[in-house]
């Protein structure tokens, strides 16, 4: 289109750069301008949705560019809107002043992708630009055909349910989109209603594209069908196949969907060629929260061999039907041809476009019977409209569905939802939800594994305490008690140690194992020391009662220091072992999410404090023992000296 027409926004002249102009003109052509330059509201709405801006922003854009006032998108308004959207995407406020300067081109997620697909052979510096070039060339034959399109909605705006009951299952899905489509058209006339309607639908979408860009990417792919279909000659085989996939829309499974179904199938049954038993499938599909009656119907449709189990193609069919149903598509009475297992398996490019066109023709004829004023409608144009109609209309119905589904689904949705493409734009939220929903059962949410480490840390600390107490008790036995309890105290630590060993296999964190093993190493070292201590202490056992005899004393004295040495060693060993352990636990806890981290740290702190207390007590006792021993030593030495002179003389 021309640069001068970019002026329209509120009278302010907006200059477009070359790239902008190319892009905008292409997009303009994409939106099916009619003879007077007005754009198809449906296409504009889709384009706006593809910009991934929030509904509020789009509303503002429409207002500022003047389309709201006029009630339609003329060339100027459209260009203004595009610039405003570019500004919004760049983060600027939606104002006329924002677009005065140079801005990057607005990004339309679906549009660029589809254009890429359509013109894969064209080198693209800027995706939209070159795409626009191609689309511009192709759009020439379209505008005349657009006229009847616009006129049709004018007349049938009020007759949303005007389609006669579908003669074939394939037609029933498109029926709904047609009703939706007339919404924007009619609203366009009123001016305000469109935006309201459009906004109502938009909120569903922006959330979804943010979650996952491929759905909108996929959904917008349907848009180019119109220009593509008319330009059959120039369409490549690949594009055609994509067309075919999309134009038969609700009942055809795309590649991404198939991959998703494959993943789901594998989660239920690792072997792709095996069957999923009925009960398994029932539990799985019941999670989609569809009424049992509908699930039962879906099952009957998809289990073609009636064996009570689902093969992989049957599973795909069933899943696809559930997804479609979740998005508001009424269930067909019989299985659509595209969902038959035989067809489903042949997912290669060999899908005959003639088949598609044949089905499209069927739809068209039924359509024509119903719609008035569709004179001289290009047969190939109809399918083009069907697809966008099909897309938008379920959107209107599923918005309610989605709103009701969304409360349920988020809880069911699993965090690890894979990127899923949606067959159509409306499906953005609901299919995501449906998918997530179905996904969630197979993959339970990851369980917090803190307990393991915490438990193990507790155990080890307890162990340490016990061993500490055991050594403490050994001190007591030295002073008064005859029974030496080191072996018993040592025993309790051991079972917990074994428990920890069992924890390790149970633990899901490898880091945990790593942490525990060094602790085990430390602990085993500690235990070794303890045994040596015990050995030393056992000899002490014999000696404490015989403190009176000098021999014993002498024997005791060397042993005492030995024990003392060993014990402090063990004591010193345990703190080091404790500290690395606590450090490890601490480090581990730092890795945890903050609330658990705090708790863990507090636990560790508590444990450390306890061990500290034990250690200090031990220390004080040992010091006292040391003093006692010193005194004894002094007395002994003095006696020795007394005796020696006597002996020498």
């Amino acid at each position: 289109m021309d640069q001068g027409s970019a002026a329209g926004t509120g009278g302010t002249l907006i200059s477009l750069s070359d790239s902008e102009q190319r892009c905008y003109s292409g997009l303009y052509a994409l939106c099916q301008p009619d003879s007077s330059g007005k754009l198809a509201a449906g296409k504009v709405a889709e384009l706006f949705r593809a910009s991934q801006l929030p509904a509020e922003t789009l509303h503002q854009v429409t207002e500022v560019c003047g389309a709201k006032r006029l009630g339609y998108f003329g060339c100027g308004q459209f260009y203004g809107a595009l610039k405003l959207m570019a500004a919004a995407q760049a983060g600027l406020p939606v104002r006329l002043e924002s677009i005065a300067g140079e801005l990057p081109l607005p990004v339309f997620v679906g549009i660029t992708n589809e254009l890429e697909m359509r013109y894969p052979n064209q080198p693209l510096t800027n995706e939209s630009q070159s795409h626009i070039l191609g689309s511009v060339t192709g759009s020439a034959p379209r505008p005349p055909a657009d006229r009847p399109v616009l006129r049709h909605p004018d007349t049938s705006m009020d007759k949303q349910e005007v389609w006669s009951p579908p003669q074939s299952p394939g037609i029933s899905p498109p029926r709904s989109p047609s009703a939706y489509r007339s919404y924007p058209y009619g609203a366009q006339r009123n001016g305000t209603d469109t935006l309201l309607v459009y906004e109502a639908k938009v909120p569903g979408l922006p959330s979804v594209p943010q979650e996952n860009s491929s759905p909108s990417h996929y959904s917008l792919r349907l848009q180019p069908e119109q220009p593509v279909i008319t330009r059959v000659a120039s369409v490549e085989r690949l594009v055609e196949r994509v067309e075919v996939d999309y134009s038969d829309d609700p009942w055809r499974i795309t590649e991404e969907q198939r991959e998703y179904y494959t993943i789901q199938f594998r989660s239920l049954q690792p072997d792709l060629s095996a069957l999923i038993m009925g009960t398994v499938a029932k539990n799985f599909f019941t999670k989609s929260k569809l009424p049992i009656l509908e699930l039962s119907h879906i099952w009957e449709l998809s289990d073609v061999d009636k064996d009570g189990a689902l093969t992989f193609p049957e599973f795909c069919t069933a899943f696809h039907l559930i997804v479609a149903r979740k998005n508001g598509y009424p269930l067909p009475e019989t299985l659509p041809a595209t969902l038959r297992p035989g067809f489903v398996e042949a997912a290669v490019v060999t899908a005959p476009p003639s088949e598609k066109i044949g089905s499209v023709d069927l739809q068209m004829t039924s359509r024509q019977g119903v719609t008035t004023k569709q004179e001289a409608r290009d047969e190939s144009r109809k399918p083009a409209e069907f697809s966008p109609k099909r897309i938008p209309e379920p959107h209107e119905k599923p918005t309610q569905h989605v709103s009701t589904l969304k409360p349920d689904s988020p809880q069911e949705l699993d965090a690890n939802m894979k990127s899923r493409t949606r067959p159509r734009s409306y499906s953005s939220t609901s299919i995501d939800d449906a998918m997530k929903k179905v996904e969630e059962p197979p993959t339970p949410p990851p369980r917090p594994q803190k307990t393991h480490s915490r438990a193990s840390s507790l155990d080890l600390n307890k162990l340490f305490q016990q061993s500490g107490q055991g050594s403490r008790r050994s001190q007591h036995s030295l002073s008064a008690k005859s029974g030496w309890l080191p072996p018993p105290p040592a025993l309790p630590p051991r079972p917990p140690a074994t428990q920890i060993f069992s924890f390790i296999p149970g633990s899901e964190k490898s880091s945990q194992k790593v942490v525990q093993q060094p602790n085990f190493a430390d602990f085993s070292k500690f235990r070794e020391e303890e045994t040596s201590v015990r050995g030393g202490l056992s000899t002490e056992d014999l000696t404490p009662p015989k403190l009176d005899s000098t021999v014993v004393h002498q024997g005791h004295a060397p042993q005492k220091p030995v024990r003392r040495k060993i014990h402090p060693e063990s004591q010193s060993a345990t703190p080091p072992s404790a500290t690395p352990y606590s450090a490890a636990t601490l480090t581990k806890s730092t890795q945890r999410p903050p609330p658990k981290q705090k708790r863990e740290i507090q636990m560790a702190i508590r444990k450390n404090r306890e061990t500290n207390a034990v250690l200090t007590r031990l220390n004080s006792e040992l010091q006292q023992q040391l003093k006692v021993v010193h005194r004894e030593r002094v007395t002994l030495e003095s006696q020795l000296e007394l005796l020696r002179p006597v002996a020498s003389t």
Binding site: G278, T279, A281, K282, F285, T286, I292, L293, L295, S296, H297, W299, E300, L301, D303, K306, D307, G308, E333
Partner: protein, 137 residues
């Protein structure tokens, strides 16, 4: 001409009649015929999948209709009620109807979402039964 197809497992699982009014009469008929079925079963050793004809012209002279019975291995009884005026129906046709019914019934049973004992609400089953009734009667 009134015809009805009923599936009973000691309580009605499925009832379908061509003129949809007067179902109550068919309920009554089925109940009475159940007794006859039991009689026949106890009499004949263990002939499964028996197809029996119930008393032709048994009931009131005003409404003379034939009741055909069929029982599966799991004690599910199929009952077909046809007008006596419809003399064109041969026994073989009735047997084939019962066979089709039985096949469709097992298909319904195969559906994991169907709880045995629930009334059968499957649309596929309905359509099969309707076509069968239309064809036969």
């Amino acid at each position: 001409m009134q015809t009805a197809i009923m599936i009973v497992a000691n309580y009605p699982l499925y009832i379908r009649s061509v003129p949809t009014q007067g179902e109550l009469k068919f309920h009554y008929t089925v109940h009475t015929s159940l007794d006859v079925v039991e009689e026949k079963i106890s009499g004949v050793g263990k002939a499964l999948a028996d197809q029996r004809e119930l008393y032709l012209g048994l009931l009131y002279p005003t409404e003379d209709y034939k009741v055909y019975g069929y029982m599966t291995n799991s004690k599910v009884k199929f009952v077909i009620v046809v007008d006596s005026s419809n003399t064109s129906l041969r026994d073989n046709e009735i047997r084939s109807m019962f066979r089709k019914l039985h096949n469709s019934f097992t298909d319904v049973m195969c559906n994991p979402f169907y709880n045995p004992g629930d009334p059968i609400q499957s649309k596929a089953f309905d359509s099969i039964v309707s076509t069968m009734m239309v064809q036969a009667f």
